[in-house]
């Protein structure tokens, strides 16, 4: 059933709130051309698509927007924004709709990984000492079993190295043997590198959770550790 929306009566709280945060998001400029929707792999899931989502925000259908799980099916890949003739920032709109939900109503899986990251420095919740042990242990195995790499060096928190590497926690936790090839390449080019012990993981589920406080905390801790403690001029993302 169609529902009449009285534009003059529209409070559009969500739209006002997001426009205030994102003055450059251009939410009002939509021409309804549908280019976003045509190129979006999440279109049609849960009967939603980027154009419809944006229209609903602009028309003040705040409850329907917040109740739709679509903001969590969208991956904020930015293909819509890339194609949009009016450069409307739909990914940031999605992020802010996620952020407008009470934290406990956001998906449990993402929230759990974000909480672990805040606590342990990685989404899988590996204690710092376990991470260091795994790194040392895998390296020792390579030195013993692969004669060409008997001098392989790995380190955590070595100060003043040319570069600091992050590492997705999946490797040390579920597939530690996958670390070896990366280290061997670094060895061959004689790279001067170390892992940080603080916020060492490459992933960041607080960003996906739209937890601004958590995301910022992770970044601040990481930046402080690299700049102040390790004093390294380069951070390398290894994903």
């Amino acid at each position: 059933m169609a529902r009449v929306i009285d534009i003059d009566d529209c409070t559009c709280e969500l739209k006002e709130q997001i426009t205030h945060l994102l003055p450059d998001a251009n939410l009002d400029l939509c021409l309804t051309c549908g280019t976003c929707t045509g190129g979006c792999p999440a279109s049609e899931q849960y009967d939603m698509d980027p154009r419809r989502f944006l229209r609903m925000v602009v028309l003040g259908m705040d409850d329907e927007v917040r109740n739709s799980p679509w903001a969590w099916v969208c991956t904020m890949c930015a293909r819509c924004k890339h194609a949009c003739p009016m450069d409307i920032d739909i990914p940031k709109l999605i992020y802010n709709v996620r952020a407008s939900l009470p934290r406990e109503e956001r998906p449990k899986g993402i929230r759990g990984s974000c909480d672990q990251h805040i606590k342990a420095g990685n989404a899988m919740g590996v204690p710092r000492d376990d991470f260091i042990f795994t790194v040392e242990d895998v390296a020792e195995e390579i030195r013993e079993n692969q004669p060409a790499f008997k001098d392989l060096k790995v380190s955590v928190d070595r100060k003043g190295t040319a570069m600091v590497l992050n590492q997705n926690s999946r490797e040390p936790v579920t597939e530690p043997d996958e670390l070896g090839p990366l280290w061997k390449i670094l060895h061959l080019v004689d790279a001067d590198w170390t892992y940080p012990s603080v916020m060492w993981a490459g992933e960041n589920y607080c960003m996906f959770l739209a937890d601004d406080e958590g995301w910022r905390y992770i970044l601040e801790e990481f930046v402080h550790h690299v700049d102040i403690n390790l004093k390294s001029p380069l951070v390398v993302n290894t994903e």
């Binding site: 792999p41 999440a42 899931q45 849960y46 799980p69 969590w72 099916v73 969208c74 991956t75 904020m76 890949c77 930015a78 293909r79 890339h82 998906p107 899986g109 993402i110 759990g112 990984s113 390579i142 079993n145 692969q146 060409a148 790499f149 600091v164 590497l165 997705n168 999946r170 597939e175 043997d177 996958e178 070896g180 090839p181 990366l182 061997k184 390449i185 061959l188 080019v189 004689d190 790279a191 490459g202 589920y205 996906f208 959770l209 601004d212 995301w215 910022r216 970044l219 601040e220 930046v223 690299v226 700049d227 390294s232 001029p233 380069l234 951070v235 390398v236 993302n237 290894t238 994903e239």
Partner: protein, 178 residues
């Protein structure tokens, strides 16, 4: 860091850019001789964060340069569309842990079809979300391809990939260079 205006002294790069730099400088000597006769085909997934969202194709072009050096130009297959225009795999933005599994799989079907269209036996997906999602789509929709790390293929091409570093390779490459 830009979002929260956090100042930092360090520069941020991806390992892909460093691989490319080391190969260009001759520090990393990689060649594709191992694949001249085998002709194993590879494709790449362009992660949104280093492709479209980076605002430049520089990193995803480096990715192609590095991979082609290791497998041979003639054994590389592009997905279409690609680079800045590429489709997201459907695993990003937290989708892998968001709980909407059926929707994630429907989303990922587009990526699965793209991969299958290339005919490649191997997919390099240098983002853990892409990596896990494309692997999962292969298992779900019955694709015979393997998703592997770039470092695995670089070490394979340099003849330094150990036996226990081959868990994700198919039987066709399990013994190459050993």
């Amino acid at each position: 860091m830009r979002k929260y205006k956090i100042d930092h002294n360090f520069k941020l790069v991806t390992i892909i850019e460093l691989y490319a730099q080391w190969i260009r400088e001759g520090k990393l000597v990689v060649n594709a001789d191992w694949n001249r006769d085998l002709k194993v085909k590879f494709t790449v997934q362009d992660p949104c964060n280093i492709g479209r969202k980076a605002g430049t194709n520089r990193i995803v072009d480096d990715l192609r340069f590095v991979l082609k050096a290791a497998i041979g130009e003639e054994n590389f297959r592009e997905m279409a569309p690609n680079r800045a225009n590429n489709f997201c795999c459907g695993g990003g933005g937290g989708a892998l842990q968001a709980g909407h599994t059926d929707q994630r799989k429907a989303y990922g079907k587009i990526k699965f079809d793209q991969v299958m269209e290339t005919g490649a036996q191997y997919v390099i997906a240098p983002c853990h979300n892409c990596h896990a999602q494309i692997e999962d789509m292969g298992a779900h929709y019955g694709g015979a391809y393997h998703v592997v790390h770039l470092w695995t293929i670089l070490c394979l091409a340099m003849g330094i990939l150990d036996e226990n570093e081959r868990s994700y390779l198919g039987p066709d490459l399990a013994m190459v260079g050993l």
